[in-house]
Amino acid sequence: MIELSNIKKAFNQGKPNEYWALNGIDLTLEAGKVTAFRGPSGSGKTTLLTLVGCLSRPTSGRVRFRGEDISGLPERFLTEIRRQSFGFIFQQFNLIKGLSALENVILPGFPTGRPRAELVASASQLFAQLKLEHRLHAKVEWLSGGEQQRVAIARALINNPQVIIADEPTANLDTALCREFMAILESFTAAGKTVLLTSHDPLVVESSAVHRVVGIRDGKLTDD
């Protein structure tokens, strides 16, 4: 589903502090599976996720998504693909303070022009699935860490993407919440979604919900 060939990514190109975060990655990711990227901080695993998730473009190399080369696409088109096909769960949850849980969840639907009623309906459904109905209209800063994460998950699902990308999803969770999250992960695969995540939490990478673990160090793959 996603093929990466000889991917390199530089920051501050041409400047004295030039830095190559990724240094020649070749990788094929399968649809419908959960893949975890494991590596120390600064290894380049998050950068890899941003490339796969159309958040940024490689400096060189090719990214193919469903057979189509997307590495040369301008931001405008990458955004379109990202909006339709990828849902993001961030480490810091990245919810917008001051807005209710519901408002946060329907935000990714705004650029699509779907009517508000429709967005609210599918958001309510997601809240029900995540057992969060009672917090629909609560401001996000009043929610607990676990609830915030579930709001972030609902937001990632609102546009019904095929791929879920989660960056260190369990970093801010205790063990119980972490197990809960893994259960939700399994429901994703049951629904046929592809999941890509980064983690160095053994609870995650050694879990049965994860089908494949990819190691990264210094911008290169280590072993499968």
Binding site: T46, L55, F110, R116
Partner: protein, 381 residues
């Protein structure tokens, strides 16, 4: 087309929704800008509404004055019309009426002001009585039936009974006016018999006015015809010019506002930057963010414009524009007090728009773009 247009519309509604919510969340930050913005609109709109009202007032007042006034010149200076001069004009086609006028200025040491004395036919103002302008009446505490005496330039004392106070409707021009009978006028100023101050001619067809003026100048080479349309034009340009001057003075304020708007728009807080980063990460396009921010600017502009304009309207038409009155109004010592006739016109609103919304938008355009191009992967770093 409609099935294509409606998601677009829906999207704009979403963007407005989001903008309203985010404006609400940052009340204090936006309030300062809104106040400055509304204040600028208020000042400029007051200026525009006030000068426009004065212009309307002048047009209204001049509508009743004669089309042509003929003055006699001696050595390049305005002189009296000698006896028989009126008849020399003869019959000019198109002139409906011609009459000699008598008027002059009188300095009243009591209130340190000049009055305009004007003679009217005996059937309008009886001998021994006067009619006075409302401002003058106020200054000297006069009412109908009172008696007032003036010391003439030759030192004699004249007593007049106030027959009535002139209607305040056209107070801008009649403020310092004293109407007396012709006999009283000549006696008071010791005006030579048969002489007049100038000649007023009424012309029915406005297109004929210039031809008649040319004929007059030809028949009486020592005369100077003054056309009503020219007076009107002069008034208009004087008001325009004054408005322009005040505007130039205020251009500093506009510039200051532009700098404020630029700074507010470019000085995004860490929180706002994070928000835009999140929006971009979850699928908002750069163009979406720009559009959202433009909606924000438009909403702020409309609110400020409405607040400022309504404020200015109340300021000018209910309180008589106390801020601009001294700069823009008359040149006489006696300030007329008059209610301005409410008048708003499209040209002024359009001009106002160019002095407020346009600079604001121009100032925030680049900062908005800069904010909108935040890296979508910034939130993951």
């Amino acid at each position: 087309m409609p099935n294509l247009a409606s998601p677009w519309l829906e999207k704009q509604r979403h963007l407005i929704d989001f903008t309203l919510a985010s404006l609400g969340r940052r009340k204090t930050k936006n309030l300062g800008l809104l106040v400055a913005y509304a204040l600028l609109v208020f000042v400029l709109a007051s200026l525009a509404l006030f000068t426009n009202a004065l212009r309307t007032e002048a047009t209204f007042v001049l509508a009743g004055s004669p089309e042509v006034i003929l003055q006699r010149m001696v050595a390049g200076r305005h002189d009296l019309i000698p006896p028989g001069y009126l008849d020399k004009i003869g019959r000019i086609r198109g002139v409906q009426k011609k009459e000699g006028r008598l008027w002059g200025y009188y300095y009243d040491p009591v209130v340190n002001a000049n009055y305009t004395f004007m003679a009217r036919p005996a059937e309008e103002v009886a001998s021994g009585t006067i009619m006075v302008g409302a401002t003058l009446a106020r200054a000297r505490g006069l009412a109908a039936g009172n008696v007032i005496s003036f010391r003439s330039y030759s030192g004699k004392l004249f007593a007049f009974k106030v027959a009535s106070v002139l209607s305040p409707d056209s107070e801008l021009l009649s403020a310092d006016l004293v109407l007396v009978s012709e006999a009283d006028f000549r006696a008071f100023f010791e005006y030579p018999a048969g002489h007049y101050t100038d000649i007023a001619l009424s012309v029915a067809n406005p297109l004929e006015v210039r031809n008649i003026a040319a004929k007059l100048a030809e028949a009486l080479p020592d005369s100077r015809p003054i056309l009503r349309e020219e007076v009107l034009r002069t008034y208009q340009s004087v008001f325009d010019w004054r408005e322009g001057i005040v505007l130039t003075v205020l251009s500093g304020a506009i510039l200051a506002f532009v700098i404020l708007a630029w700074e507010k728009a470019s000085g995004l807080s860490a929180e706002e930057k994070r928000e835009i980063g999140i929006l971009k990460a979850i699928g908002w396009e750069t163009g979406d963010v720009i559009r959202m921010k433009l909606w924000e600017g438009l909403l702020i502009s409309l609110t400020a414009f409405l607040l400022g304009f309504v404020g200015a309207y109340i300021h000018v038409f209910h309180f008589g524009a106390p801020i601009f009155e001294p700069v823009l109004k008359g040149w006489a010592v006696l300030y007329p007090r008059f209610t301005l006739v409410p008048a708003v016109d499209g040209l002024q609103i359009a001009t106002l728009f160019f002095f407020t919304v346009f600079p604001y938008t121009a100032a925030v355009l680049v900062p908005i773009w800069r904010a909108a191009i935040t890296d979508p992967d910034a939130v993951m770093r």
